[in-house]
């Protein structure tokens, strides 16, 4: 069996493992064991990938397998394979699932059901990243979306039904565009295949078809990547979602959007991207600045972070649309970086909320004195977000900026400078929050009795911080791994 299929098999086994569980302890045991196994597999995959790459330096996708056909009429295959980018995305997913498990240690009520849905979601995500067949990819994409509705609707807070419905409907709207786009690609590819590697190699989509398929697929994935003006599911969705779901959603699921955009929209329809890309480039440019300005005015911690995600994910799509190697490398790095630090943010916000029962920055103050561990972690997450060197955000953003600046024309230059200016705006809202909730005097005397992080929370946050700092200090191998995966640019 192909090693990649294990990434689907293990979560499925976990699902079975949850069934006999009687109490939260057993549920946790299964969840942690499963997540650890996945993380080990992801790390092993990285090393196997290097080994395999040394033997086979030319194939685009390694561990390639398309022997299983599951719908002959339309030539739909269970085609899998990975390149450096997917390996990194799988690694990111496994890190976030593990830390998310620790962050939802005391899930209440119905912990079993919660973890089952969460695991089903992870099946979808892993499946998406290993698939090469667009239909299979879409299939896994939908698997990842549906649990989201229940996870937010049942375990969420605030206006959860509304948010869950909104998120699902908007993303489904994106899916509708997407499936039309995918079918369009199938019939116009010239080789009647859903396999995007095959199409890129042997097929070709005529420009007339590209003109309508490109916007559809880009928009379809772009909704998930919080493309302005289709980002409004994100603030409400994140605000209502329980901690682990926010972490997974902002950390990984939003990355599906960017990943799909460059794998399918940009890769298969380069001519249309060249022709129409500027429209989306303007939209993403707006996302970057607009999200950042939007974050300044918010008062709910999760809303601040959701708008900040709009800004950061906007930068991912922005870089993808720059269509050059450096910018795209930066885009993938930004996906990783944003995934890690946003998961960290949501974990911390969940922990703060769990103690103080508020996320309103006006009701919080002086937490540094009360919970120094969590506060220092929050500061670090903030510094990563505003792009401090030594943490992950910096390397990703700089790669994007330098790459974008490779374009010599005024249009790209102006947009790039606009995007660069977000580093200041980000600093404003990050420091505003840090200064308000962590520093200063304690506002609410009840908060004085609160305690600092316990061991499982420390694992979750420290684990993510190590990753954020590790990526920020040793970015070379990640950058090279991504660069080597995009030889066609």
């Amino acid at each position: 069996m192909n090693i990649l299929s294990l990434f689907i098999l293990v979560p499925v086994l976990m699902l079975l493992g949850f069934i006999p569980c009687k109490n939260i302890k057993q549920v946790r045991t299964v969840a942690v064991i499963g997540a650890v196994v996945e993380l080990i597999m992801a790390v092993a995959l990285l090393f196997l990938f290097y080994k395999e790459r040394a033997i086979d330096p030319t194939s685009e996708m390694l561990f390639y397998d398309d022997s299983i056909t599951w719908f002959k009429t339309l030539n739909i295959k269970y085609a899998i394979g990975v390149d450096g980018i997917s390996v990194l995305m799988i690694l990111l997913t496994s890190i976030i699932i593990l830390t998310g498990t620790f962050a939802s240690w005391n899930m209440n009520p119905l912990p079993k059901d919660f973890f089952m849905w969460l695991t089903l979601l992870s099946v979808g995500v892993y499946g998406f990243f290993i698939s090469l067949d667009m239909f299979t990819m879409f299939f896994f994409y939908e698997i990842a979306l549906i649990p989201m509705y229940l996870l937010i609707g049942l375990w969420g807070t605030g206006r959860k039904e509304y948010s869950a419905m909104k998120l699902t409907l908007m993303l489904m709207g994106g899916s509708a565009l997407l499936i039309v786009g995918i079918i369009g690609i199938f019939y116009n590819s010239g080789i009647e295949s859903f396999n995007f590697v095959e199409i890129a190699k042997n097929g070709g989509i005529p420009i007339e078809a590209q003109r309508w398929i490109f916007p559809m697929t880009f928009l379809g994935f772009g909704v998930l990547g919080a493309l302005f003006p289709f980002h409004t599911w994100s603030p409400d969705g994140h605000a209502s979602a329980p901690t682990a779901v926010s972490m997974l959603h902002a950390g990984v699921l939003m990355k599906l959007g960017g990943y799909g955009c460059f794998r399918i929209a940009m890769r298969l329809m380069p001519e249309a991207a060249d022709e129409l890309g500027w429209i989306f480039l303007v939209l993403t440019g707006i996302s970057v600045v607009y999200g950042a300005f939007g974050a300044i005015a918010q008062t709910d911690l999760k809303y601040i972070n959701a708008y900040s995600s709009v800004s950061h994910c906007g930068l991912v799509l922005f870089a993808i649309l720059m269509v050059n190697k450096t910018a795209l490398t930066g885009a993938v790095m930004q996906m990783l970086s944003h995934g890690l630090m946003t998961a960290l943010f949501f974990a911390l916000i969940g922990m703060i909320y769990g103690r103080t029962h508020t996320r309103d920055i006006r009701q919080l103050g002086g937490l540094m004195k009360i919970m120094p561990f969590l506060s220092v972690c929050y500061v670090l997450a903030g510094l990563a977000s505003l792009g401090l060197p030594g943490l992950s955000g910096f390397v990703a953003e700089m790669t994007i900026f330098v790459g974008s600046f490779e374009h010599a024309d005024m249009f790209h230059r102006v947009l790039t400078i606009m995007a660069v200016s977000s580093i200041v705006i980000t600093a404003v809202y990050i420091l505003k929050v840090v200064g308000k909730i962590l520093y200063g005097p304690v506002i609410d005397d009840h908060h004085l009795e609160l305690t600092d992080a316990v061991w499982y929370e420390k694992i979750a946050t420290a684990g993510l911080i190590v990753c954020v700092a590790g990526m920020g200090m040793f970015p070379g191998w990640i950058s090279n791994l991504i660069r080597e995966s995009i030889p066609y640019l």
């Binding site: 300044i296 005015a297 700089m398 790459g403 070379g476």
Partner: protein, 644 residues
């Protein structure tokens, strides 16, 4: 040339970083004193390494023929972009980086020792030492950078350690506000720095200083060729990079963060906001000097410096918080260095301004650190920053008094103290370049002598019979020894023959004392001191009379000419109220409202249609018949249409 292995210089970066990690992660498990001593010892080692490195560089390996070379000691490829564009982390030794190594480690060591006493018993003592280590690491990384991107990286790290030290007393709202202001203002300036880097590296195809500082490099031609809004790409890039430097070095109009930064612990102010970090902008321009030379941008830099020098000197005269007086004096003195670069040429005696700037950076580091630490000792003794709570302290704090007096004489530029030598060279360079700039500097120099003497008298004389609740007393040896060492440096560091070692093109030249200029500036210094002595040596009514004669001027100066208010207006009223809030509203009500509206319309439509699924067979048949009939009619018309 480089047959001596100098990779031991890596210790200079590795040790402080290690110390930061150790103290940051394990600090809380240690006794405060252990953490402090550990930090101080490591700094001692680093200072020794830095001195040895500087010695090696200046006297053994640095010179090839008659010219000091830049030696890349170590280079590690950190992050690749495209082509030759990659970020390396490395160590480069050249005259100015070797100079900075000495300055930084010396002042940092003094601050480390001094803080053992000053910060004793403070909550977060270990954190303080961890941050000092982080700062030292970042600052050293900045000065030894081999390429401009490495410099930017450490530039940001310096900024964040400054932020963390300003907000050291994080429960105090004013400290938090000050730290935010410092970070955001400098970050705003850094934005331009980054854009400047992007532009210049695009043309040069590299970040490496070796290419960037080569005045004959081919990229300069192409960068000059491309124009934008009337300026060449090169001048835009250089101007933007200078804005970055102006942010860190608190040049107008970015100076507003520095006075507020005094909310941090005094020794940290001495290190960061007086001696080292704030001269990063000067260092940046000096580093890229060969491509700045002869451009209009350099001319502008000279003017920015001169105006800032005069402005800050005026404001310093009207401040009553002793640390703020020192902060404005720092702004003014750094502006001297910037101006000096602005009026300099390249090579030989033309590069006098360059040499003078570095010289002043060197001497200023010692006397300004001394002033801050002396002020710290005073604050430690009387528990206040305000002049009104001081007076007659010379009886209680004899060591502080004498060392402070040395520093005042040095900064005022009295022969033979160190400030005299370096400031005189700056004046000479300005005098021969542009008389108007010289006039501004001359004016600033007069005021410098005046406000520093005022400060000195207000602290140590003035109200000689002041009643103190607790009798002030001199601090312990951990605080007085650094004062004495720095006083010696402040007195004698002017005798270093700078023009032999640090020049714009690496070749030694003879710098002479220009008697005319020296006479003028001594006159200015003595004049300032005499006036201050008349006004402040004893408690008198003269100062009040003066302020009452010019109430408007005094008010404006003491309110710093309302620069803070302008910035506040722009950030609060325009960015927050006029941009950010409307965007948030627009997002909630228009963008999201549209989506919600879509959902509402769908739901309403389905509500309307759902009546059709009534389950009444008669109704279904009725609709069916109408539909069928319509189809038949359409069909008939269609046939008729085809046949006609």
């Amino acid at each position: 040339m480089n047959d001596i292995n100098m990779s031991y210089t890596l210790i200079l970066l590795a040790l402080p970083f290690l110390m930061f990690l150790v103290l940051g992660l394990l600090g809380n498990k240690m006794k405060p004193l252990v953490a402090g001593v550990l930090g101080t010892l490591s700094l001692g080692v680093m200072a020794a390494v830095a001195y040895y490195t500087a010695y090696q560089y200046f006297f053994v390996v640095g010179k090839v023929g008659e010219v000091y070379q830049s030696l890349p000691v170590f280079n590690y490829e950190w992050l690749q972009f495209y082509g030759e564009l990659k970020i390396n982390l490395g160590i480069m030794l050249d005259p100015i980086s070797a100079l900075m190594l000495v300055v930084i480690t010396t002042v940092s060591l003094m601050v480390h020792i001094y803080s053992l006493g000053y910060m004793k018993g403070e909550r977060g003592f270990q954190r303080y030492y961890a941050l000092l280590s982080l700062f030292t690491f970042a600052m050293l990384g900045l000065v030894v950078a081999t390429n401009i991107f490495q410099m930017y990286i450490f530039w940001e790290l310096v900024g964040v350690s400054s932020f963390a030290l300003i907000s050291f007393y994080y429960t105090k709202p004013s400290a938090v506000a000050a730290s935010k202001k410092a970070f955001i203002v400098t970050r705003f300036a850094d934005l331009f720095f980054l854009i400047g880097i992007l532009i210049i590296s695009y043309f040069a195809g590299t970040f490496d200083f070796a290419t960037l500082t080569d005045p004959d490099a081919p990229f300069i031609g192409s960068a000059v060729g491309a124009t934008f809004l009337g300026g060449t790409a090169l001048s835009w890039a250089l101007a933007f990079i200078f804005i970055g430097g102006a942010g860190k070095s608190a040049m107008m109009p970015f100076h507003i963060w520095l006075p507020d930064a005094m909310e941090g612990p005094t020794p940290a102010s001495a290190l960061i906001h007086a001696a080292t970090m704030v001269v990063a902008g000067v260092f940046l321009v000096a580093r890229l000097f060969p491509i700045y030379v002869g451009t209009t941008v350099l001319e502008i830099i000279g003017w920015v410096g001169a105006i800032t020098a005069a402005y800050a000197a005026i404001v310093a005269c009207a401040q009553t918080d002793i640390k703020r007086v020192l902060a404005f004096s720092t702004i003014s003195q750094i502006a001297f260095m910037i101006t000096s670069l602005g009026v300099s040429g390249y090579g030989g005696h033309d590069g006098l301004g360059y040499m003078a700037s570095m010289f002043h950076l060197f001497t200023h580091a010692f006397f300004k650190a001394l002033l801050f630490m002396g002020a710290g000792a005073v604050i430690h003794a009387v528990h206040s920053n305000e002049m009104k709570d001081m007076g007659g302290l010379r009886k209680y704090l004899p060591i502080t008094h004498i060392t402070f007096a040395v520093a005042v004489l040095a900064i005022a530029g009295i022969f033979p103290f160190s400030g005299f030598w370096s400031k005189d060279e700056i004046m000479a360079a300005a005098f021969h370049h542009n008389k108007a700039i010289f006039a501004l500097l001359f004016f600033a120099a007069c005021l410098t002598a005046f406000y520093m003497s005022r400060l000195y008298y207000r602290i140590f004389w003035y109200d000689n019979n002041k009643d103190y609740h607790h009798k002030p007393h001199e601090a312990g040896p951990t605080m007085t020894i650094p004062l004495i060492i720095l006083a010696i440096l402040a007195a004698f560091s002017g005798f270093v023959p700078f023009s032999k070692y640090i020049t714009s093109d690496g070749k030694a030249f003879e710098a002479h004392i220009d008697m005319l200029v020296a006479g003028l500036s001594t006159l200015a210094a003595v004049g300032g001191i005499v006036v201050a002595t008349l006004m402040y040596a004893k408690k008198k009514d003269a100062p009040n009379k003066f302020t009452q004669t010019f109430p408007r001027l005094y008010k404006w100066a003491s309110d710093r000419f309302y620069f803070d208010e302008i910035w506040l207006f722009v950030t609060r009223k325009i960015i927050f109220d006029r941009i950010s809030k409307p965007i948030a509203w627009f997002d909630r009500h228009i963008v999201d409202g549209f989506m919600d509206g879509l959902a509402y319309v769908t739901q309403a439509a389905s509500d309307k249609i759902k009546g059709l699924q009534s389950g009444h067979i008669q109704q279904y048949i009725f609709v069916y018949l109408i539909g069928a009939l319509s189809l038949v009619f359409i069909f008939i018309f269609f046939i008729a249409f085809l046949l006609s």
